[in-house]
């Protein structure tokens, strides 16, 4: 029976919409994290001198520390963005989808 339900959901256009949109969203955010993270590691490996410089003349804030602090905050903000959208919009769509499939049973 649940196989029948899965089949009904799979053919529902809402399912395609959910999978595509959420998938694209998740992969975009992942790509941002991976590119920034490994990009930063490349800087560490190949241009450590740059990270050691201060952000401006007379300031004590090193570029590396400042970038990393921003990455910590930014990565966490991305998790906030994802959870809001996934728990809101995408979960509503999912609930719709399951309701549709259950209605068909009748």
């Amino acid at each position: 029976m649940s196989s029948v339900m899965y089949e009904r959901m799979r053919v529902n256009p809402k399912f395609q919409k959910l999978v595509q949109e959420r998938g694209r969203f998740a992969w975009t955010l992942s790509a941002i994290v991976l590119i920034l993270f490994y990009g930063f590691f490349m800087l560490v490996a190949f241009n450590p001198g740059l990270l050691a410089q201060k952000i401006s003349e007379g300031s004590m804030w090193p570029i590396g520390y400042t970038i990393e602090l921003c990455l910590f905050v930014f990565f966490w903000l991305l998790t906030v963005v994802y959870v809001r959208k996934a728990n809101g919009e995408f979960d509503d769509l999912t609930a719709d989808l399951i309701k549709d499939a259950q209605k068909e049973k009748l």
Binding site: S2, V33, M60, L78, Y82
Partner: protein, 553 residues
């Protein structure tokens, strides 16, 4: 200096385990620390009370393994943060910031960056497909017996190596902090862990984690505030003084020697990021919440706490350069700049004493003990579930075991693992066990993670591919670590390492993926066709959560 830093690096590779802290401490036993002992006893009394309460609620297998799925996202977030922020994080990374400066911060980002990825790509599917162990997911549409056995073996490898590292670390730390004998410390940790897990199962383990995470966040933040106020909460002031004082000088805030080699840097990054996503005790936490919504929230809160705490301990390490580094009270023989009393890992403790006196020192010491206890409990539960749920209930009894039988087996398994941990902890006391953490992470990243992610994302994965990928990953990760300097030279005493890098992930992960791909692609048996077809239903369930095991409370 380079040797020292790479030793520290290895030691704290995981950020989770506490591997051989007293290696440079000379094993000195401190005077009995009564403040710490009293506060620790309060913690034990509290957690025992919770265990008693939890025992009454632990009736079904779901209660035992996953607290009946009744943990909220916020609670689980704290518990995950508790699992992830171990004594090594508090003590080891503070020590690393103190000696190596900015490098410690780079490590912290590597520990942290795995979490958003876990959220975006895994959390939802883990929750929607899994029930008690991650083998539930990998074996979802594959051969139950073979794939579960493989997943259980690699889980147990991770758990056992991790447990040894934790136990040895615990014994040495407790000797230092509390002035207790090493063997007594090992027994205390082992027995308390058995009590928590066998009686209270996941409910108790989760609450132990939550309480400990709160204590850790509170103690760390308070110490930082008391220290940072001396610099008027000004980073400029702090860095000016620290750079003037530290032997690295202006290089304190520059990337140092730890990650100079790009291959090591990238391999480390991969190992930390994907190792986290393959640790059985972390994965198990995703099954303790009721649905995908709460699973996502768990990661949101967990990564918030973890990220915050990393920033706290990095600043703590910098403050310690000035506050601890100039105070003769904390150096052997009162020689400033000489050997730190109790070794480098005691920097955080000395800082607590300097800014908050014996009360704060005692509190932080109790937190460190509680931390170890909580982490070993989580590990033991994950190991026990691999034995009882995967091997006993599914492979040996083929799903015919009653819940009562399964819980009984998992209790015996916990006691078995606890005794094993005590025995191994005592056996390995004098050994250099730093490699074990690397091994645990290597196996997690190279065996658990590839098969898990492929089973969720790739329709073409078959039983044959999963087995080759999984076993290929375990064996290659183990061999790479065995042939690397940390075991081949440092433990076995050979002259030169056969494998030039200390980090296996960059090499072992591709092996697992390539094996899984080739042996799935070439698998044309009738069974493989059914397995690929079964992906369709699995995919809908993974996406929608329909049919997922829900909360039983």
């Amino acid at each position: 200096m380079h040797r020292l830093t790479s030793a520290i690096a290895l030691l704290f590779l995981s950020g989770l385990a506490f591997a051989g802290p007293a290696m440079d401490a000379g094993g000195a036993k401190q005077a009995t620390n009564w403040h710490a002992i009293i506060m620790f006893l309060i913690f034990v009394a509290m957690t025992m009370g919770i265990t008693y309460w939890a025992a009454g609620r632990t009736k079904s297998t779901a209660d035992f393994y996953t607290a009946g799925g009744g943990i909220t996202g916020f609670q689980n977030g704290l518990a995950i943060a508790g699992d992830y922020m171990s004594a090594a994080t508090l003590l080891g990374l503070t020590a690393m910031a103190y000696t190596a400066g900015y490098d410690a911060y780079i490590y912290m980002l590597a520990f942290f960056a795995g979490w958003p990825i876990i959220l975006f790509l895994m959390a939802e599917r883990l929750r929607n497909l899994g029930r008690f162990t991650f083998a539930d997911i990998t074996s979802y549409r594959l051969d139950q017996g073979k794939v579960r056995t493989m997943a259980a073996i690699s889980s147990l490898v991770v758990v056992v190596f991790y447990l040894i590292a934790q136990m040895v670390g615990a014994g040495q730390l407790i000797k230092l902090l509390f002035g207790l004998d090493y063997n007594i410390a090992i027994f205390v940790v082992g027995i308390l862990m058995m009590v928590y897990v066998t009686l209270g199962g996941m409910v108790a383990t989760t609450w132990v984690q939550i309480i400990k995470a709160c204590m850790l966040l509170f103690g760390g933040t308070l110490t930082l505030l008391l220290a940072y106020v001396q610099f008027g909460f000004s980073l400029t002031e702090l860095l000016t003084q620290a750079e003037a004082l530290h032997k690295l000088g202006p290089k304190l805030m520059a990337p140092g020697s730890l990650l100079a080699d790009p291959i090591t840097a990238i391999s480390l990054g991969l190992g930390l990021m994907f190792g986290t996503a393959g640790l059985p005790h972390i994965l198990m936490r995703f099954f303790t919440v009721g649905n995908a919504k709460e699973a996502r929230k768990s990661v949101l809160y967990a990564s918030g706490f973890v990220g915050f705490f990393f920033n706290v301990i990095f600043l703590m390490g910098l403050c310690a350069i000035i506050i601890v580094g100039q105070n003769p009270e904390f150096f052997e023989g009162g020689v400033v700049g000489g050997k730190i009393i109790g070794g480098g890992n005691m920097v955080a403790m000395h800082l607590a004493k300097a800014v908050g006196g014996n009360m704060l020192l005692g509190f932080l010491a109790a937190v460190a003990f509680a931390t170890i206890l909580a982490v070993v409990s989580g590990l033991a539960l994950a190991g026990a579930s691999a034995i009882s749920h995967d091997i006993y209930a599914r492979v040996i009894r083929k799903g015919q075991a009653t819940e009562k039988e399964e819980i009984r087996v998992s209790r015996f398994a916990t006691i078995g693992l606890g005794m094993l941990a005590i025995v191994l902890g005592i056996l390995f006391e004098k050994m250099n066990i730093a490699f074990m953490v690397g091994l645990a992470f290597g196996v997690a990243a190279a065996a658990n993670f590839p098969v898990l992610i492929l089973s969720m994302y790739w329709k073409g994965l078959t039983t044959r591919g999963a087995l080759w990928g999984g076993y290929g990953g375990v064996i290659s990760a183990v061999l790479f670590v065995l042939f690397s300097k940390s075991v081949w030279v440092d433990v076995l005493g050979n002259k030169a390492a056969l494998f030039p890098y200390t980090q296996p992930a960059l090499f072992a992960m591709p092996i697992a993926f390539i094996f899984a791909y080739i042996f799935s692609k070439s698998d044309t048996g009738p069974r493989s066709k059914l397995e690929k077809e079964a992906f369709e239903d699995q995919y809908v369930r993974a996406q929608t959560g329909f049919g997922a095991s829900g909360a039983s409370h």
